[in-house]
């Protein structure tokens, strides 16, 4: 059994394009899920039950069903009603999935900011909304950072799943290359290595962010 990595080298520009798409999706999903997660957390903590109950239900639904099923539903299910491009479905699906997990973290860290902070701020003349924006949320955000970056590291690995609905990220482009070269082992090993390197870089980034954020907590 001999291995031949020349097809991998031939298709390396294609793979790099796939890496680019993977990273861009990762960036979009990270922004969507962190900002959205914060919004969802604030709404479900500070509004009436009529407003926040449906939201909590969606968080629960996204957390108790598998990502792939959610993607299939969004792509094949909603695709019957309105035509949405796969890339948008992918970013929204992955974004909502991790929005649920991030909202869960934000809810915990917002609660963990002591109520004295809120009272002090109100007595200094800040309104309710300003107190939230300038006093509570920044503190909650820094407390959430370690778990947030953990979630984002897990999320980047889940981008591989998006190949199932035909998004041209790393796994998808290599499946295309495999269908021409018939070298699955070489290509999948290469992808695993690329993903491992991305993961190592993200872990390094995580410890850098945590060092920077430690004194702000």
């Amino acid at each position: 059994m001999e291995f031949d990595f020349t097809p991998v080298i031939d298709y390396f520009p294609t793979l790099l394009k796939g890496v680019g798409v993977t990273l861009l999706i990762g960036l979009a999903v990270a922004l969507l899920s962190i900002l959205g997660g914060q919004l969802v957390a604030v709404i479900s903590l500070y509004t009436r039950k009529v407003v926040n109950w449906p939201l909590r239900f969606f968080i629960w639904l996204f957390m108790t069903t598998p990502l792939l099923l959610q993607l299939y539903f969004l792509y094949f299910g909603l695709g019957e009603l309105i035509l949405i491009p796969a890339i948008v479905v992918g970013i929204l699906g992955l974004g909502f999935h991790y929005m649920a997990y991030n909202a869960d973290i934000f809810m915990a860290t917002i609660r963990s900011v002591s109520s004295g902070q809120y009272e002090a701020s109100r007595s200094l003349g800040f309104g309710h909304l300003r107190t939230l924006l300038y006093i509570i949320l920044p503190q909650a955000f820094y407390r959430a950072l370690p778990q947030l970056s953990n979630n984002m590291i897990i999320m980047v690995k889940d981008i591989a799943v998006l190949s199932a609905i035909g998004i041209g990220e790393l796994v998808y482009v290599s499946q295309y290359a495999i269908s021409i070269t018939f070298r699955p082992f070489e290509f999948y090993i290469t992808i695993a290595v690329i993903y491992y390197l991305i993961n190592l870089m993200m872990e390094a980034g995580q410890s850098w962010i945590e060092r920077r954020a430690a004194y702000r907590r």
């Binding site: 059994m1 291995f3 639904l61 108790t64 069903t65 598998p66 990502l67 792939l68 099923l69 299939y72 539903f73 094949f76 299910g77 909603l78 019957e80 690995k157 889940d158 981008i159 591989a160 799943v161 190949s163 199932a164 796994v171 495999i178 070298r183 699955p184 082992f185 070489e186 290509f187 999948y188 090993i189 992808i191 695993a192 993903y195 491992y196 993961n199 190592l200």
Partner: protein
């Protein structure tokens, strides 16, 4: 219209089956990794650490594709179901070994020293002093991993194991009723996950009967 419920129930059973088997074998892989990480021989420790790092650093999805489609190139031919169990077990084993190590390390080190000074051996200390105190935390964190395992089992549909997600996708394609099929299959996942949570809670209560919590 064909009746979708029996087909989905059957597929849900495959999901349970594949996850349960992966969890069972994963437990032993995790235990072996924990032992290797505390071994006296440095290469064993390095091997375990490298294995855990690589498995946790690459997507489960890519691991499945590599073993199923790339495996034959190195003489590893598995049928889809077996492949799902094997990759699932080796994947969850790496995560579980970290959970076990965390639980064991959460027990105060004075417990170990006191036990050793009272004449218990290394193994007896682990069995009678450390593990009973670590069991509660260990069961909780393995429970979280079991739920992740159930949700990850949907990815096995990509190597054509007819489990819940695969069947759901097929039924959406043939019935054009995505809402019904999705609601039913999501409901089944939720039932499975709540069953796992119930079992974890039961085991947790049993394990922490005699410890102060």
């Amino acid at each position: 219209m064909i009746d979708i419920t029996p087909l989905l129930v059957k597929a849900a059973w495959v999901t349970v089956d594949i996850s349960a088997r992966a969890l069972f074998f994963g437990f032993f892989i995790a235990a072996a990794l924990v032992v290797m990480r505390t071994a006296r021989l440095p290469p064993l420790r390095w091997l375990a650490r490298a294995y855990i790092s690589v498995v946790r650093g690459t997507p489960y999805f890519v691991q499945l594709l590599l073993v199923f489609y790339g495996g034959p190139a190195i003489g590893l031919r598995l049928d889809p179901f077996t492949c799902g169990v094997v990759v699932g077990a080796f994947n969850i084993g790496a995560y579980m070994s970290e959970a076990m190590r965390g639980a064991i390390e959460s027990v105060e080190s004075g417990q170990n020293e006191a036990s050793r000074s009272l004449g218990f051996g290394r193994l007896a200390t682990l069995r009678y002093i450390i593990l009973p105190q670590a069991a509660g935390l260990m069961i909780r964190s393995i429970g979280v991993l079991a739920i992740i395992l159930v949700k990850n089992s949907s990815l096995v549909s990509i190597i054509s194991v007819v489990e819940l997600t695969y069947q759901a996708q097929r039924l959406i394609g043939s019935t054009y009723k995505p809402l019904e099929v999705f609601t039913l299959s999501a409901l089944m996942y939720i039932v499975i996950i709540y069953a796992v949570m119930g079992m974890v809670e039961f085991l947790y209560r049993r394990a922490t009967r005699y410890t102060f919590r």
